[in-house]
Each structure stands twice: as C-alpha cells, then as structure tokens.
C-alpha cells in the first residue's frame, strides 16, 4: 500500500509540546498552560536552517503527511505535496506542522479539560485568532531551537497565518508562501460561516457547547456546516464534471431522499466529518477566519500592515477558486508591491476550485518547486 511508497514520509508519530507558561491572547484573556501537538518530517540540518512551518486550514490538523499506522486508509491531509521528492521535499526540508489552538486534534481546544476545574472547556475556550495561533507557533519554534524558518507555508486559512507570521515575527522567517488565501474575508465569506455556525448552535444536541457532558454530538448541525463548506471548496464546473445531474437510482422518485449524486456526495462528506471533527472547533475556526484582517490595526491599509515584513513572498491563487478568487490574491500582492516587498505571484489555471491548493496541478507544483529550490540554494542546505 501507499505507506511503502518511496515518496511517502511513511509512519509518523505526533509529538506534544507542553507549554507551562501563560500566553496572552488577542481577546484579552490569557491561556494558562496548553499543549501543542505537532508532527515533523525530514531531518533538521546542523545549523537548523532548513525548517519549514506548515500552517493548516479550517479542517486541518497536525497530521499533514504520512500514516499513523499501517492500517490507515488515508495519509495526512497534505500528503500529495509533502514527502521525499514531492513539492515540499522532506529530503531537503525539516517540515513542522502543528495543530492549532482550539483544535479538535490534541492541541488544547474546547474538548480539552480546563487544568483548574477538570471540566471540558466547551464554549469557555477563548475565541482564538490567527495572531494567537502564530504566537503559539512561535513558542513551538523556540522549543525546536529553530532561529528562523526557511519558509512558512499555508493554504487558505493557513495562508492567513503565513501573512501574520511575516508581520508579527519578521526576523523569524525568510520566505512566506501564501496559497489560495485572502487578506480578510468578504461579507459573502462571513455569511457562509455564519450559516455554518447557526446550523451547529441551533442543533438540539448542541447544549450550549457542553454536549460532551451529555454524551452526544450536534451531528446534524456539524454535518450541515461541512456540507455547506464543501460547496464553497468546489467550482461550479467541477461539480458539473464530477456529478452533473446524475441520479443514484437512474430516475427521479418524487421524494426527498438522496436522489442526485451530488446530494449523496455532500451527505457522505458531512457524515464522515462528524466522526472526526469537533463542533466547537468548527465555531472557533470560522471565527478566526472572520476576524482575520491585518489591515485593521494599520488604519485599514494592508500595505502599512505589511511594512514590518522582511520575508520574500510567494503568493499563489487558482483561477477556479471562488471562495478566495484571484482578485483576493491581487489585494495581497498589490499591498506587498505598494509596501516595496519582494513578492512573486502565480495565478494557476485550474478547474476544481479552492481545493486545488491541496492537489498537484503541474504549474502549481513546478512554481513551488522552483521557488523552494531557491530557498534551498540560498540557505546552502
């Protein structure tokens, strides 16, 4: 199976960083004691100059590549792009991917128990921001004794973290690779998020976020949220190509069960998501997305917000992405140019939509590869 593939990082094991000190959060409340779960692939070189940080998106986690056991049906979420000889080449880079605070996947989040009360945080978990995530990732950087990331890379919400890194810790990264992202959400983006949140909080099993204590999960709400999300991850064209108006039974039944293949697909995606994801995490991740707006603290001017950045940027967008279309990437690029920063921009012709950032379109892979070759060359790794 794929685990024996020479381009796979193979079996991997998550590790946990226990942070004993309290970390200030943007909401004003500090977070006392927390865990960050992360994975690493590849080898850190002698001068620690080949470390790359991967920032995950809304539904991601620390498991970006490889397998946890030989029985795993699927590898990590970005396995197509991370591994020996792959786009992000683990033969050359030491790749670090943490699960963000508020996560469902081991890093301290709403399902974790408060160290003082022993109760699940639930909705008492602070509303964390992209800035908070980056602050916690910087603690991980120090713990791993990495003076400076060779590159910080992320797609979608991950790309927002990359921008935040470049602004908040300019000396701590040499390259910022921002993929399929926007400098802030549009009203339409926020509207989709709000419907997802309403689906969750109005589920009778939600119990104000304390569903853990009732031994239930707001399945229907989380499933609806995910189904909605999936519509925004695919282009109209991709859905047409993938499902068209194909009927599962070959004919209409004049009823309300699953009839069209696209309905079946969405229900499957929604149902399988519920089994692995936490509803409170979904609320937190969508809030972090909504709040992200680095220009806000710079008088509304994104170029001013980027002023402290010293990293070189690579910005990538996909033509069929309607969640964060190329026009949104142009906003980032224009601001970087206005701020006089080093930036390259690739607008990759694509069909699938937002999800293309997880896949391996040749122009995408070759652009990243060419860029990362330069990163290697200048680091002398």
């Amino acid at each position: 199976m794929a685990i024996s593939d020479t381009h796979s990082v193979g079996l991997v094991e998550p590790r946990t960083l226990h942070v004993a000190e309290s970390m200030p959060l943007d909401c004003g409340k500090p977070l006392d004691r927390f865990d960050l779960v992360y994975e690493t692939y590849g080898t850190l070189n002698a001068d620690h100059s080949n470390a790359v940080l991967i920032c995950h998106a809304l539904s991601g986690n620390h498991h970006a590549a490889g397998y946890h056991s030989a029985d795993d049906a699927k590898p990590g979420w970005w396995d197509k792009c991370i591994g020996p000889g792959k786009m992000i080449d683990t033969d050359r880079f030491f790749v670090v991917c943490p699960a963000n605070l508020g996560s469902y996947a081991g890093s301290t989040g709403p399902e974790s128990r408060h160290p003082d009360t022993g109760r699940h945080y639930g909705l008492d978990f602070p509303v964390v921001t992209v800035g908070d995530w980056v602050r916690s990732q910087n603690i991980l950087r120090e713990a791993l004794e990495i003076d400076q990331w060779a590159a910080v890379i992320g797609g979608s919400l991950g790309g927002m973290q990359v921008m935040q890194w470049a602004i908040d810790y300019p000396d701590r990264l040499r390259h910022a690779i921002v993929i399929a992202a926007a400098p802030k959400l549009s009203a339409q983006n926020i509207a989709f998020n709000e419907i997802a949140r309403q689906a969750i909080v109005t589920d009778p099993e939600f119990h104000g976020g304390r569903y853990y204590e009732h031994d239930v999960v707001p399945r229907r709400g989380l499933m609806l949220a995910r189904m909605l999300g999936h519509i925004t991850y695919l282009s109209d064209e991709a859905m047409r190509a993938k499902f068209g108006r194909d009927l599962r039974a070959g004919r209409v039944n004049f009823g309300f069960d699953v009839e069209f293949q696209v309905e079946s697909y969405l229900r499957y995606q929604g149902a399988s998501f519920v089994d692995r994801f936490d509803a409170n995490t979904y609320l937190l991740m969508t809030k972090a997305l909504d709040y992200f707006d680095p220009a806000n603290t710079a008088g509304g001017d994104l170029a001013t917000a980027f002023a402290p950045a010293t990293a070189r940027f690579l910005v990538v967008s996909f033509t069929s992405d309607w969640r964060f279309p190329p026009a949104r990437a142009h906003e980032i690029v224009d601001a970087l140019v206005d701020a006089g920063k080093e930036v390259s921009y690739a607008e990759v012709g694509s069909d699938l939509g937002h999800d293309d950032f997880l896949l391996t379109l040749p122009n995408y892979v070759n652009t990243l590869r060419a860029y990362l070759d330069r990163v290697v060359a200048e680091a002398g790794t």
Binding site: L314, H330, V333, D334, V337, D338, E342, V343, S344, Y345, A346, E347, V348, G349, N363, N366, T367, A370, Y371, D373, R374
Partner: protein, 210 residues
C-alpha cells in the same frame, strides 16, 4: 568600433543588452512582459536593480522564479492601475508594444508609474517591409517580423515616425533614441535615416513638462 554588443553579457538577448545599457545603478524596475526574467536577473546582478516582472505565461513565471526574479502573473492588458504614480525608476516594455490593444494608453500608464520608460518595437518603416508591401503587395515577413498576417500577435505595428508623432501629440519627452539593424547594431547611415534603415527602435521616454 565600439558598440553595445561588445559589452553584451553571455546569454542576454541583444535588444535586452541594449536596454540594460540605459539602466542606472540601484534602479527600481517594472518589466512588462518580462519573459523568462533574463533582463531583470542581469540587472539585479550587475546594477543592483530591484523590482518586478509581469508576465501571463505560466512557463515564464516558473522560469522567473527559478532565476530568482520577482514575477507577477498578471495581464498587462488588464490595466496597471494598482501601481502607484512614480513608484518605479524604469518601466520597461520590450518588443511587445505592437501586441497591445491600446499602445497609446499603455504608454500613458508607463509614464505615470515610472520616472523613465523604455519601449522597443520593430520599425515597420524599414525599407524591407516597405518594399514587400509597396512593390510585391505582400505583408512583410522578416527576422524581426517572422509571422504571417493571420497568425501574428502584432496588431499595432508602427514606424519610427509614427511613434515620434504619437510622442509629440502626447507631449512625451524622448530622452534617448537608439535605432538598430537586425543584428542590433547602429551605424552612421541608420542614424541619418532611422525610419528607412532601422529595424528595431529603442526609446527612453519621460512625461513631458506641460
């Protein structure tokens, strides 16, 4: 005999080598239709230049990235409104002005964005195209104009005189002009009769004082 080609760096296309001669050290450059980024890479190495290339072709974008040149995959035809007034020392467009839908508007934009602009184009007033069209009645094909009428990207070919008339109309200051033959060399004859004997024209332009 001294000419620009004596200083040509290995591998740099002839017309780009001529442009490079005009670039002052430490200049900030916007190269429209930058191709594989050869000019910018050369200027970064030899003139400590900085800036960006624009190109829409994905292979060119990858080549630029590989060469360590900042490249933006944007369509020049979609407008350059995002670039601020006077934000570059040089805005360059080599061998592509004749492919643009509205060269006059583009030149206006270049002059707005750059302190100086450099454009190069094939001179349709050269005696060979004149001969082809005037005597043989055929659209000219040559080393500088290799395409046939139906597959050429050139939709706005002009002559040296046409171009200078446009500059005059628009009160554009011609800082420098260099007209060369197909081997990118100049001569006393070309300098005397540029519109008849020159095949490629290079201009350095500035917004005229109005």
């Amino acid at each position: 005999m001294s000419n620009a080609l004596d200083h040509q760096p290995a591998g740099l296309r002839d017309d780009l080598a001529l442009i490079a001669e005009w670039i002052t050290p430490n200049a900030r450059i916007l190269d429209l239709g930058c191709g594989d980024g050869a000019l910018l890479a050369y200027l970064q190495d030899t003139r400590n230049a900085s800036g960006y290339g624009l190109d829409i072709d994905p292979d060119n974008v990858i080549a630029c990235v590989r060469a360590g040149v900042n490249v933006l995959q944007l369509d020049v035809e979609a407008g350059l409104g995002q670039f601020e007034d006077n934000s570059f020392d040089f805005v360059i467009m080599s061998s592509a002005l004749q492919e643009i839908r509205r060269p006059d508007k583009l030149i206006e934009e270049m002059l707005r964005i750059g302190r100086d602009s450099i454009v190069t184009f094939p001179n349709f007033g050269h005696w060979r195209p004149r001969l082809s069209l005037g005597l043989r009645g055929l659209m000219p094909i040559s080393g500088t104009l290799p395409n046939r009428w139906y597959d050429t990207p050139n939709i706005h070919l002009c002559t040296v005189r046409d171009f200078e008339a446009l500059c005059q109309d628009k009160q554009v200051e011609i800082v420098r002009r260099h007209v060369v033959n197909h081997a990118r060399r100049s001569s006393t004859a070309i300098r005397t009769l540029p519109n008849l004997l020159g095949e490629v024209a290079l201009y350095q332009l500035r917004q005229g004082k109005s």
